[in-house]
């Protein structure tokens, strides 16, 4: 069951990419909060090597050239507590603070949560609502992928063999926002439905709005029709417009029945979470 034979400690990104490319059984390990659970339960029979990311210098959060750059190995605690994030991205602060519980957030990383590509990952809807892009490093060099185009399905991403997430790039702007999650309890629960809403002033009396849904489709998804409706209208939106946007949000959700919840309940709660998130932002 356990074929793990080596742990690598690359000191540079090219070195890490090279190990990942040449050893098909190699997997990156950062916080380990998801990977080690799988490993210890025998769910990673093909993994022969762990590649530790802690020596790659991916722990920085910086502001450069109009972008906040968050290193992929930043923990949830580090992201939620950083002034550059706290001053700009309330949805991301709230999302990262709702991952797991205290002990998990001290170890789990943003790159790990995104790289796992769970539709229920709680840091992902906030990142999508903030127009985040992933900066990838691979054997062919660097490339930037908008996070909205990063996921192909549950656990599936556009990452190529040997490629890893170096950082997340978020446009530097002050946003209002909220992340709301419906789970069995407040700590540790995997989301049944989650919603992130972020907005920022685009012109006098207008706000650019982004809405992302978690756990109601094979990947986290954006609600583009509702976003366009709200972004084009005067801000704050009139009651009838909110009702229309809400209907569009609910329409976007494509939930399933599973052990955590039911399709119909999830769909209805998507609209409820949208209403609550908008209320929070408008206060």
């Amino acid at each position: 069951m356990d074929n793990l034979a080596r742990v690598h400690f690359p000191a540079s990104l090219p070195e890490a990419a090279d190990i990942l490319r040449t050893r098909p059984g190699a997997r990156l390990i950062a916080g380990g909060t998801d990977l080690l659970v799988k490993h210890r339960n025998g769910l990673l029979p093909d993994v022969t090597d762990f590649v530790d990311v802690s020596g790659l210098g991916l722990h920085e959060i910086t502001l450069t050239e109009g972008q906040v750059r968050i290193g992929s190995a930043c923990t949830m605690t580090a992201v939620a507590g950083h002034p550059l994030v706290r001053e700009r991205f309330p949805a991301l602060v709230q999302g990262t603070l709702q991952v797991g519980a205290f002990q998990i957030r001290n170890a789990a990383t943003l790159g790990g949560n995104v790289g796992n590509a769970s539709p229920a990952g709680d840091s992902i809807p906030p990142l999508l609502s903030l127009d985040a892009a992933a900066l990838l490093f691979g054997p062919a060099g660097r490339r930037t992928v908008p996070l909205a185009e990063f996921f192909n399905g549950p656990g599936k991403t556009v990452l190529q063999p040997g490629e890893l997430i170096e950082a997340f790039l978020l446009p530097d702007r002050r946003t209002a926002g909220a992340f709301l999650k419906l789970g069995e309890r407040r700590a540790h629960a995997i989301s049944k439905v989650s919603l992130a809403l972020s907005c920022w002033e685009s012109a006098h009396g207008r706000h650019e709005v982004r809405i992302a849904l978690g756990a109601v489709a094979p990947t986290v998804i954006r609600c583009r029709k509702a976003e366009e409706l709200l972004s084009a209208a005067p801000w704050p939106p009139a009651t009838d417009l909110v009702a229309k946007a809400r209907a569009l949000v609910v329409e976007t959700a494509r939930p399933i029945d599973d052990l955590r919840s039911e399709k119909n309940y999830r769909r209805r709660m998507t609209g409820v979470l949208f209403g609550r998130a908008l209320e929070r932002v408008l206060v």
């Binding site: 380990g32 909060t33 002990q103 700590a187």
Partner: protein, 181 residues
């Protein structure tokens, strides 16, 4: 199956530099329990949900069942409950747990008090909400949460009254920085 290599590691355990050679899949919890015979921390769920394995890594509580021992670095500081045996704040907490009847089967308690300790280090006078929040990663299957919360609240009052100075093995500088934040 390939023969796993042993990985040499060095880190600070309860204020002392230690060395070990660990298999690739060994967790920090297994390391402190098996190699160093520090058995306060327990494996409850092995999935990072119950918190019975909570240790302090660089002053932050983590699930030691999900920390790969091989990835410990010389700059890492691990503190187990044993390392806090003489710590006045930890002793105040332990007495308070006993006085309030907060200990039932006891399995969760070594992890629970690590979270209590971390809370009172950061928030010496915590709100009821903070007490709940800081223990949200620790599960007590006897479900004795109310008494645990009371014990922590009373320990905070007592610690404030006696101004118990806290001893912090080998990490005074780091914790000063945190308090300044």
């Amino acid at each position: 199956m390939p023969t796993p290599e042993l990985i040499p590691i060095r880190f600070a355990l309860n204020g002392r530099t230690v060395e070990a050679r660990v298999p690739p899949g060994m967790t920090l919890l297994e390391l402190v329990r098996r190699e160093f015979r520090l058995t306060a921390a327990k494996e409850g769920c092995g999935k990072g949900e119950c918190g019975a394995c909570t240790l302090l890594l660089n002053d932050q509580p983590v699930n030691s069942c999900l920390k790969l021992a091989a990835t410990l670095r010389p700059s890492d500081r691990v503190v187990t409950l044993e390392g806090l045996a003489d710590d006045p704040l930890m002793q105040t907490l332990q007495k308070s747990y006993v006085a309030e009847g907060a200990v039932q089967c006891g399995f969760c308690i070594p992890g629970m008090v690590m979270s209590s300790y971390h809370l009172l280090r950061i928030h010496p006078q915590p709100t009821a909400e903070q007490i709940k929040e800081f223990h949200s990663g620790n599960i007590c299957r006897c479900t004795g949460y109310a008494k645990i919360e009371q014990a922590v609240a009373k320990a905070a009052v007592k610690a404030a009254a006696t101004r118990a100075p806290t001893r912090d093995p080998g990490q005074a500088a780091a914790s000063k920085k945190k308090e300044a934040r």
